[in-house]
Amino acid sequence: MNFEIILAGQRFANPLVLASGTFSYGLRYTHVIDRVGAIVTKGITVSGRAGNPPPRIWDTAETVVNSVGLENVGLERFSQEILPSLRFSTPVYVNLAGVTTDDFAMMLDSLGKEERVSGFELNLSCPNVKEGGQSIGQSASSVAEVTSVCRKLTAKPLWVKLTSNFCDVRETAVSAAEAGADAVVLLNTLSALLIDAGQRHPFLGAGSGGLSGPAIKPYVLYVVREVSKVIDTPIIASGGVVSGLDVIQYLLAGASLVQVGSVNLQDPEACLRILAEIEKWLNERDLKTLADLIGKLED
């Protein structure tokens, strides 16, 4: 059975990608990382960030809301301490979270030389920071600017992670594609507010957060499908995957790779189960090649 996906000239053993922020930097659970197509690191900023005040996380049966706020060690420690410690051969994509275009350029420049870095995911979509983040991704022109500047600075694969909060993500996806992105990642979390009614105060320390988890999958599936109609650039789906069937649905809707996020928090070995479910599904239908499913949804 062939799970392989080729995207932007890169080979992925299978379509599963560990989503940014849900597998830290890849220092733990390497037996899981060994088995997936790629891992995206936690969002990295130039000087590091302490992150948002607690509480940072909340859930229901089918959703998670987080406001981690890009807590990270910063560019320097990431290069010097984290990268050399990674103990697996799976491709590493670094999620870059700049505030200005210069921030992105600087991080890309610095990390572009690292052999261990396979590619980049530009995080233009974080709902949990006041500056940068989704405020960039909400404007087609900002997306175009950041993407084209970064494109010039690296030959490595460049993914652009987008938001649908308060914008038309079809437009920003077209911008990213035209500016040279190798793939667009759809979607980061939906902006979310939790209220402690008794206190008349937001429940999360940061005031608001981002919604993820299986409940949003039908929405993200729709967005993936619609964006696939307006760009030829490959799409990487992110939203609500918990099962092998979810992955297959995203491939059918037009995604080439599929990120697995929140479910890693419930079970760090979820990807192993998901791979087994995909295999079983293909077997039952006597199908051999997963890549053949991409975009094969009929109307």
């Binding site: 830290s24 509480p55 940072r56 859930d59 929140s262 928090l265």
Partner: protein, 248 residues
Amino acid sequence: MRKQKARICEHTELGPGLHSFWLELPEPDDVRPGQFYEIKTAVRFLRRAISLADKIEDRLRFIIRVVGPGTEWMSGLKPGENLDIIGPLGKGVKIPEEGSLTLLGGGIGIAPLLYLARVLSGKGLRVNALLAACTREELICTEEFGSLCSEVVTATDDGSCGRKGLLTQVLPSLQCYKESSAFYACGPEPMLKALKELDIQSPVYAFLESRMGCGIGLCMGCAIKHTDGGYRRVCLDGPVFNLEDITL
């Protein structure tokens, strides 16, 4: 740490919304006081952190207080049912070689101190306990502590059992307050805050809680404020911290 199916052998109700479970693991764990497990429930996406309350031979004990949907679900579990758990997690307590130690438990915070009492007394150390709760019905495990500790003092807010008053009001009047070489405190945030203000000279090790995402170091969800201005992860760096290092 690993994922296991634990079989529930016993479930008893200790008080209003307070439930004790004894569990059997297929592959028994080596576990330290202060460590915890992440429990999968049918009603919430994320697991729920529950401390090891006790361990006798290979059986683990959890004690929970119902505060929301996850713990409500746990309270309905029956003997014979299986629980999907990940653990043991966190660093747990560093067991001292010597000294006279005092355990300070408030409410459901009494639970994780029980196994600590067992391990400390097993090492032949002198252990005192001050256990407090709002009312008599919520004061749990006092007999078990009695059999493990040199001295057990109880207190309730309403005076319905033991001394009347908050734990931090009773503590200064005890001999151990001056003499203990270390304190281990577990209880609600207001109790820990008040403890901090007592400015105790010996180290106070606090069992802390936070809302957790993964419990295993993947998500940075469990932040707690360090006095250096940064955050620490309760799941990896804790859950037991030196109280003076933490901003509450």
